[in-house]
């Protein structure tokens, strides 16, 4: 298993793929038409479930199973496509929407049929201006063709699709916060249960799926679930978009078969760290995933193997860090991100992210002692599992893993920063600067 396996992105070299005529010429909308006209809702659902397709947004939950949780009944049901890709390191959905917006719309139609939804929303992050415009144009084309609106493809099924733009908040990628934002509220996560499948958008049953998940569905309907399940290994079926970034020679998106060795992705596809540099650690699934080190390079890239190694596949966004990067500023940057993005609803997350940043700043400024590492690690364990959503965990897990893997470097940083600060105090004291300011000498 080496190199790329282009299924989702097979036609990406086709010029003007974002236009309806090109997409249709390549067989586009055939699956949605088949699902709307020739298949029952149960058949669509069964095929999705049989394919083993797992959510590509981070949690990795079976897509078909999730859709099957939508209750029967005549109430209005909804499909939400989560295009709020904000995880540091993730940029696959951006490419999927920009290169092939119709594939996503077709996926939304299939997802909506599976969930019996008559209204669908694509929640796209506000920063993706270009992509939102392209999606809008594609949606207009689909309405003109009668693929969206009342009686899609001439069937009895109706489907309205709205592209909804967020306004900049990482937390809106969390599914219940996304629903609140879509309802016109501050994007705060909700208490679960009830889960969105029962009570989601406007209190109606709602299926929420990531862009990549939905983009996979047309091919499953076209070729059948066996075709999809034949790719990948065990319970990690199909291909996966992997975004590789950070200290590598060729950053970018690669579509690979799940189960490919991690080394093949980082060194084979992305070219490895720059000349003369060595790998220090990497985030296998976005900045929320605990870091892994060199010893994990030969693991297969699957949901299971990453979990066993103490991390997660998440969004499959690999951020590679080479040995030129000191760990403390990296941890500080990471914690600062989660502090900024914490919605503030749950205390462990709001306070935990804030205090982690404070403690890392103390380490960086030479005001910390090695004991602070214990306190910091303890703060992380007190966040995990104690909040409505996993934003706090998303900081706690990688920070905890950094302390675990690089404790020595943290300790060295603490001592070096303390020594530097003391030298500065002595210098300032000798130069009379401290006395003038009325401050005491070194403690």
């Amino acid at each position: 298993m080496t190199g790329q396996l282009k299924k989702l992105t097979a036609n990406y070299d086709e010029p003007d793929l974002h236009r309806m005529e090109v997409y249709e010429r390549l067989g586009g909308y055939g699956s949605a038409r088949k699902a709307a006209l020739d298949m029952t809702q149960e058949e669509v659902l069964d095929q999705l479930e049989a394919s083993g397709l797992r959510g590509r947004g981070g949690a990795g939950f079976s897509m078909g199973k999730k859709a099957s949780f939508i209750p029967e009944g005549t109430m209005e049901k909804y499909l939400c496509c989560n295009a709020d890709e904000s995880e540091p390191g993730a940029f696959k959905d951006r490419v999927l929407m920009q290169r092939n917006p119709h594939q996503l719309i077709e996926g939304c139609i299939i997802g909506a049929i599976a969930a019996q939804a008559t209204r669908a929303f694509i929640f796209i992050r506000g920063e993706y201006e270009t992509q939102a415009k392209m999606l809008d144009a594609a949606v207009t084309e689909a309405y003109e063709k009668g693929y969206l609106g009342s009686g899609i493809f001439g069937s009895q099924t109706d489907l309205e699709l709205v592209v909804h733009r967020g306004q900049g908040a990482y937390i809106c990628g969390e599914e219940s916060a996304l629903l609140d934002a879509l309802e016109g509220k501050r994007g705060n996560p909700r208490l679960k249960p009830p889960f969105p499948a029962n009570q989601g958008l406007y209190q109606g049953p709602t299926l929420i799926n990531n862009v990549e998940t939905l983009c996979n569905t047309p091919a499953i309907i076209e070729h059948g679930p066996e075709w999809f399940a034949a790719m990948g290994v065990d319970k990690s079926t199909g291909t996966k978009m992997v975004s590789v970034s950070g200290n590598v020679q060729r950053a970018g998106n690669f579509e690979v078969e799940l189960g490919i060795p991690v080394r093949e992705i980082i060194y084979g596809l992305a070219g490895g760290p720059p000349e003369g540099r060595d790998l220090k650690c990497f985030f296998p699934g976005g900045s929320s995933a605990p870091v892994l080190t060199k010893e994990h390079l030969d693991l297969p890239f699957t949901y299971e193997a990453m979990a066993e190694a103490g991390s997660m596949l998440g969004t499959a966004s690999m951020i590679v860090v080479d040995d030129s990067q000191p760990i403390v500023p990296l941890a500080l940057n990471l914690a600062g991100f989660y502090r900024h993005e914490s919605c503030g609803k749950c205390v462990p997350c709001r306070e935990g992210t804030n205090w982690t940043v404070h403690m890392l700043e103390r380490i960086d400024q030479g005001d910390a002692t090695p004991m602070d590492l214990e306190i910091m690690a303890e703060v992380q364990t007190n966040i995990i599992g104690n909040c409505l959503c996993v934003l706090g965990d998303s900081m706690a897990m990688p920070i905890g893993s950094m302390i675990k893997h690089f404790r020595g470097e943290f300790e060295q940083h603490i001592e070096a920063a303390r020594a530097a600060r003391d030298r500065e105090h002595i210098r300032a004291f000798s130069a009379g600067e401290l006395a003038a300011a009325g401050e005491a000498g070194p403690a």
């Binding site: 209005e76 890709e85 904000s86 995880e87 540091p88 390191g89 993730a90 940029f91 959905d93 951006r94 920009q98 209204r119 992050r125 506000g126 920063e127 993706y128 201006e129 270009t130 709205v162 909804h164 733009r165 967020g166 306004q167 900049g168 908040a169 990482y170 934002a181 879509l182 309802e183 016109g184 509220k185 501050r186 994007g187 406007y202 975004s243 970034s245 950070g246 200290n247 020679q249 060729r250 950053a251 970018g252 998106n253 070219g271 985030f283 900045s287 966004s317 951020i319 860090v321 080479d322 990067q325 500023p329 990296l330 940057n333 990471l334 991100f337 900024h340 993005e341």
Partner: protein
């Protein structure tokens, strides 16, 4: 270019307890630009619940006013028939909505993890310094959370157009182009004709 950790505008001002809270404005009393009214009304019709249109409405009002000013909020409130306080709670929550008149255009420089390991902090500081040196006005220059373009790190979003990979040397030209309203770094924007990352094979 202010520190985003500071408190929101007016947080330390005493509350006037005599004043009645702002209620849903009477549409007859508030003048709203026609185009803005039309776009908010159209947005409301797209959703089963009109409240869902509030983010598109605030974004549209911000385009007109440059920021979510009290007047902008009053206009949106009048058209949507909601309270200004409700709108204010949202404007202060979302990063792309401005609660201060810091500029009607923006340059967001990504400084999150993937850009961080490629020296984004230095790029951001160079751009911020250039903005001060060239006295760039009416543009919000700030460091931003991950913009979803880690392949072109370090990068920036200039009014929604992604440019990168950037180095400190690009700061001068980037700011000058923004100031003179020219296209920023032609050919280096995502989606530009023939855009290629430096390490991708030329097509």
């Amino acid at each position: 270019m202010r520190d985003r950790r500071t408190m929101p505008l007016g947080w330390d001002e005493a509350v006037d307890l005599e004043r009645d809270p702002a209620v849903v404005p009477d549409p007859a009393e508030v003048e709203v630009p026609e185009a803005l009214r039309a776009s908010i009304t159209a947005a409301m019709q797209r959703y089963p619940d009109r409240h869902s249109a509030v983010l598109p409405a605030l974004a549209a009002a911000q385009k007109v006013h440059g920021w979510c000013s009290p007047e902008a909020l009053r206009q949106v409130a009048a058209v949507m028939q909601v309270t200004p306080a409700y709108l204010s709670s949202l404007a202060s929550y979302y990063d792309m909505l401005r609660t201060e008149p810091i500029g009607s255009r923006y340059v967001y420089v990504c400084t999150s993890v993937a850009c961080h390991v490629r020296d984004a902090r230095a790029v951001y500081e160079a751009i911020a310094q250039e903005a001060r040196d060239q006295e760039l006005e009416d543009v919000e220059v700030r460091n931003f959370e991950c913009l979803g373009a880690c392949d072109m790190a370090p990068m920036a979003s200039v009014d929604g157009r992604y440019v990168g990979p950037l180095s400190e040397d690009d700061a001068h030209e980037l700011v000058a182009a923004v100031k003179e309203n020219r296209e920023v770094l032609p050919g280096r924007g995502l989606g530009d004709e023939g855009f290629r990352l430096p390490w991708e094979d030329k097509a």
